[in-house]
Symmetry: C2
Subunit: 284 residues, 2 copies
């Protein structure tokens, strides 16, 4: 069994995979999120793990789009507590730093840090652990990366600052994806949730009617996200998370009702509600 994630050793997705699977699975790093989906579809990985939202920076839209573009299912989730560290090469001091490399979602999570150092230039790298590798490989003496403590340990970096995230309740929610909709052992027994995508018919109160199919059956909603349909101006697709399993009642009836009101519908998967995990760091 192998798990694909985007980035490098020490990436938050790798920490999330280790917490979720807790076993001896082979973890396989890929270049980016699209490659995680490709690895799962092409069977080079059994599962993939991708971040879907952060409590401070919001949703990772690209992964919502990728979920829709690929024939795969969400089979699990986990919320990982996120702490950011300023990492540089050995011997570099904080006053030497002119440029910061990290994932673009990280910068808005560390606004207070950047307010204190307004002259810092920021450079986006597709992944936090890749940013550390980049700073290391180039032997930069005037740049640092923002990444996990694990990345700092793995690349043997100098810790210039710890916990520079604005908010100590910073969490990222990760989804586990699979070619099949079969749920995983990991979350067995936990309450379930279902993620769907739909586009409403052009009716008055269209979205309200769609949410009514759940409210009328006492099915709680967890999250709603609207994304513009590509090429259709400001027409929206809705991503909805609700409680329960799409194969059970009353969810089954709610979905049948929903399909009367939509021009497009897809179930992304039913899966156990994820726990909140503190990352365990490993010395490797």
């Amino acid at each position: 069994m192998s798990i694909a994630y985007a980035g490098e050793r020490g990436a938050f997705a790798e920490l999330a995979a280790r917490e979720y699977f807790k076993g001896k699975q082979r973890l396989a790093a890929t270049a980016d999120f699209a490659d995680v989906f490709k690895a799962v579809i092409k069977k080079s990985a059994t599962y993939g793990i991708v971040p879907i939202e952060n409590t401070l920076a919001g949703s990772i839209h690209q992964n919502y789009d990728l979920l829709l573009e690929h024939p795969c299912f969400i089979v699990g989730e986990i919320c990982l507590k996120v702490a950011h560290f300023l990492l540089a090469n050995k011997g570099v001091r904080r006053a030497d730093i002119k440029r910061i490399y990290s994932h673009p979602q990280v910068f808005p999570q560390c606004r207070n840090f950047f307010k204190r150092y307004p002259k810092l230039e920021v450079v986006s790298i597709p992944n936090t652990a890749l940013a550390v590798k980049f700073v290391k490989d180039h032997k930069f003496t005037d740049a640092a990366a923002i990444a996990s403590m694990q990345a700092g340990i793995d690349f043997n970096m100098q810790f210039l600052a710890r916990n520079i995230e604005d908010n100590k309740h910073n969490m990222t929610r990760f989804l586990v994806i699979s070619r099949t909709s079969r749920p995983l052992k990991a979350g067995r027994g936990a309450p379930e949730k279902t993620s769907i995508v739909f586009a409403t018919k052009d009716l008055p109160g269209a979205l309200f009617r769609c949410l009514a199919v759940f409210a009328l059956r006492d099915i709680n909603l967890f999250k709603i996200e609207s994304r513009p349909v590509h090429g259709k101006g400001f027409k929206y697709l809705f991503y909805l998370d609700f409680e329960g399993n799409a194969e059970k009642q009353p969810q089954r009836n709610a979905i049948a009702h929903l399909r009367e009101l939509t021009t497009f519908y897809r179930c992304l998967g039913s899966y156990p509600v994820g726990r909140i995990a503190d990352p365990h760091y490993a010395v490797r």
Copy 2:
């Protein structure tokens, strides 16, 4: 009268401001979105203009957060058609380019371009026109910027590729913000819309009940966006756009009803629905 926007001459926000105001107003460039809000609050600008969503890349979350953090109102909107150009210094050829500077929202709008050139490194700059200025000021011969045609004209750059956006219906919606809620002349006579933010009480079907206050009064919804409340884990604030003016009926009653169901409510403004504008380029 002066209008604050983020970036440099040739920024999409400047094009939007020119289309919206169509007059001799002084346009004042600021460093970033937060400074646009500051300029309006501190009265150094009469109005501000900020992007709020793009049809391909989705919402600009930072501006949703800034709207909530500042005591200001939305008084107008305009949708600007967006075309992206690859701009380099004179004499630089496309084969020389190793790095691309632009706003992070621009990269996902040009995915097909980056698929053709997968080795290009991307660097985030807070604004497209600033990215052009950066490439120009550093006299880079191995880097280019992605920005508007206007930025290419203003900085006298070489056009290496035009219309590299994936989708020809690419549009960005801009909001005009003000210290007072008084609507602007510019959109007079157009149908109105209202933007609000709220947090639901912890009730079963809470969001459904909140949307019911509009559906029961035949008030159409335009857009719903959920944003995590900072520091509260995955609890959400909802940003909602609906048709009509908050001071008129039945919207007034709907809002009174909504306030029975919410723990937090704020009206961000009622304003004329914006037109879709093709940018007019200026030779200056």
